[in-house]
């Protein structure tokens, strides 16, 4: 770990960390642009970088992107990122009564402390979890991926049925091309360009960046309210940390825990921490009216969820959310195998991610406290030019991947698919994570079947695999049982 911090102190990593965090804060602060969109768009630019520098840049963008969302949420009641939705409840009323600077400084402090708490868990839990995961065979890996997909589909917002369909669709769309086990061509429909399958990058850029541009174009006429922030009020005192100590610690742990679970994400983490803070508060009625603990709980938890989500990512190669799926894509693009072997084969990357996460939080807090009044002005960048520039980056970045236009067409098609899926309330998380995990799941299932001679009951001789399978089944069945029980109770009450 010490070596990772030393490596991070070199000029290039420091440069990428600062650039990444700054870009993340700017993009996060602009309503309509998200951290996942920025990370997907930056991926093509990381080809020429070393994997360590690339991951440093992307982690900086992730931390900056989630933290930057606080600015528009507080000042405009428009969450810069989905993770900042809960911040609008108390941040905006505070800004309305002239305490916008206070809300922002509390939010920045809370984001930083949330990051620190989850970094502690990340640094402590990752190495032993990776060692445990090294004992996993193909059955364990297959059931682990299955569990992640089922949890993601059932716990993501909206209908579980649509989540499951989205996961299946993602899995299926990753299958054209060369079969990973025996090299048989399949589902190419005679197109030579399909031999290599659908590349990850065009799919990611299309699903997140192009579909987001389409969504933003539809709301471009909506004017943004004008607000100003003075630098004077943006300051922190030690007493602030003492006053909110309990809330910070509790929300940090909740955020980390929610982050570890696949598919839930920063917005649910913030929601749960907010609800808990209100439950334990002596003045619960003040929540939603511009109450400081509300901002603290939401911002601590949404930032803590990043560190939590990085734990399954670097220890097992399982993405907890869409942004982690893109980070997995970044590792794959740099020829690195995400999973427990990362700690053995490329420890500089695994520990580099952990070190970058802490450093990005430090850079974020310094940058935001020093320049939040200027960053707030960036929210008013003319969206007409911003969106066209992003669209051009999408086209050029995707073309640069293999110097072919097939990828650009794929990107545009996935932009339309992503937009259409969101219009009919189909969550994009299970879709993209299904796409990323599909090759791993298929490869593991087929090698497991080969090692057991086609005997699928062999799964029950492996305790971890059985446990993962049981968790998957329970996650799948539980919502139906709960809904049925609720309906039964409602009928009894009516009688």
């Amino acid at each position: 770990m010490f070596d990772a911090f030393l490596a991070l102190a070199a000029p290039w990593p420091v440069f990428y960390l600062i650039i990444g965090t700054a870009l993340g804060i700017v993009v996060g602060s602009i309503p309509g642009l998200t951290a996942s969109m920025l990370i997907a768009l930056t991926l093509p630019l990381t080809f020429s970088m070393s994997p360590t520098n690339a991951m440093t840049l992307l982690i900086g963008e992730y931390v900056g992107g989630i933290s930057g969302g606080l600015i528009a949420a507080t000042l405009m009641r428009m969450p810069g990122t989905p993770a900042s939705i809960m911040t609008t409840f108390d941040g905006f009323p505070m800004a309305q009564r002239g305490a916008g600077e206070r809300a922002l400084s509390l939010g920045v402090m809370a984001s930083f402390v949330g990051g620190l708490i989850s970094w502690g868990f990340l640094a402590l839990l990752s190495p032993p979890l990776a060692r445990l995961a090294l004992t996993f065979g193909p059955w364990e890996y297959f059931t682990l991926v299955l569990m992640a997909l089922v949890m993601l589909a059932s716990l993501s917002q909206g209908s579980m049925l649509k989540g499951l369909i989205a996961a299946c669709l993602g899995v299926l769309l990753a299958m054209p091309g060369i079969d990973p086990s025996i090299g048989q061509l399949r589902l190419t429909f005679g197109f030579n360009d399909m031999t290599g399958g659908l590349s990850l990058l065009p799919v990611l850029i299309g699903t997140f960046a192009v579909s987001q541009i389409l969504k933003d174009i539809l709301t471009i006429e909506k004017p943004l309210p004008k607000v100003t922030v003075s630098r004077k009020g943006v300051a922190l005192r030690w007493s602030d940390i003492r006053m909110h100590g309990g809330n910070l610690a509790r929300s940090g742990v909740i955020g980390t825990w929610i982050g570890i679970l696949p598919g839930i994400g920063g917005n649910i983490a913030a929601m749960m921490a907010y609800a808990t803070a209100r439950q334990v508060s002596k003045t619960p009625k003040k929540f939603g009216t511009g109450h400081e603990p509300g901002v603290v709980a939401a911002e601590t938890a949404n930032n803590a969820s990043i560190g939590g989500a990085l734990i399954p990512l670097i220890t097992m190669g399982i993405p907890g959310s869409v942004t982690e799926a893109i980070l997995i894509g970044a590792l794959i693009i740099h020829n690195l195998q995400p999973g427990p072997l990362l700690f053995v084969t490329n420890p500089e990357i695994a520990y580099g991610v952990i070190a970058s996460y802490l450093a990005a939080n430090v850079v974020m807090v310094v940058m935001m406290l020093a320049s939040i009044s200027y960053i707030a002005k960036l929210m008013y960048l003319p969206r007409a030019y911003l969106l066209t520039a992003i669209l051009l980056f999408c086209v050029v970045g995707t073309f640069a991947l293999n110097n072919r236009f097939f990828d650009v067409w794929v990107m545009l098609a996935f932009g339309a698919i992503g937009f259409a899926l969101e219009r009919v309330k189909v969550p994009l998380g299970p879709f993209v994570i299904g796409f990323v995990l599909s090759p791993i799941a298929e490869e593991q299932l087929r090698s497991a079947a080969m090692s057991s001679g086609g005997d699928f009951t062999a799964i029950f001789t492996r305790p971890f695999a059985t446990a993962f399978l049981i968790v998957s089944l329970v996650t799948l069945v539980w919502p139906f049982l709960a809904a049925r029980r609720q309906a039964k109770r409602a009928t009894q009450e009516r009688q």
């Binding site: 669709l169 299926l172 399949r186 589902l187 066209t388 520039a389 051009l392 087929r446």
Partner: protein
Amino acid sequence: MSESPRNDAGAASRAPAVGDLAFAGAIIALAAVVWIGTADLPPPRYEPIGSAAIPRGVALLMAFLALLLGVRALRTGGEASVGEPVSRRAAATAVVLIAATLIYVALMDARLVGFRVATIPFLTVCGILLGGFRLRNAVTALIFAAALTLVLHFVFTQFFYIDLP
């Protein structure tokens, strides 16, 4: 007179059901395409599962889930679509922008025009469409388009050594 609100409510619940039904239909059609596309794959030889079983299994599961969704949409009316209602002008802008993007990519793909020649007018059109039809905006959009295109071309060809069309 009293029937009018009920009719509105009926129309409102039918619209989302149409979205869910269309989605379910598209998914079932895709599953059918996968099923047909994997029909001529050879049976497993060196390992027990083979190349076709997993795509076929997933397609079958997906079609079943889509069928359940379709039935639910017919019975309960489905879920409302996401986001606020879209104005006609915004929808028209989006359609023109999509068409402009498709033409832009198609022209470069067919090697009819190079990156710089295609990108400057494309970005200018996008800037005017999204920023408004005013002379000042058109000039700004043109300057912005030229500057961004030339900078991007320089960065990609000279810095990243990537040949743009």
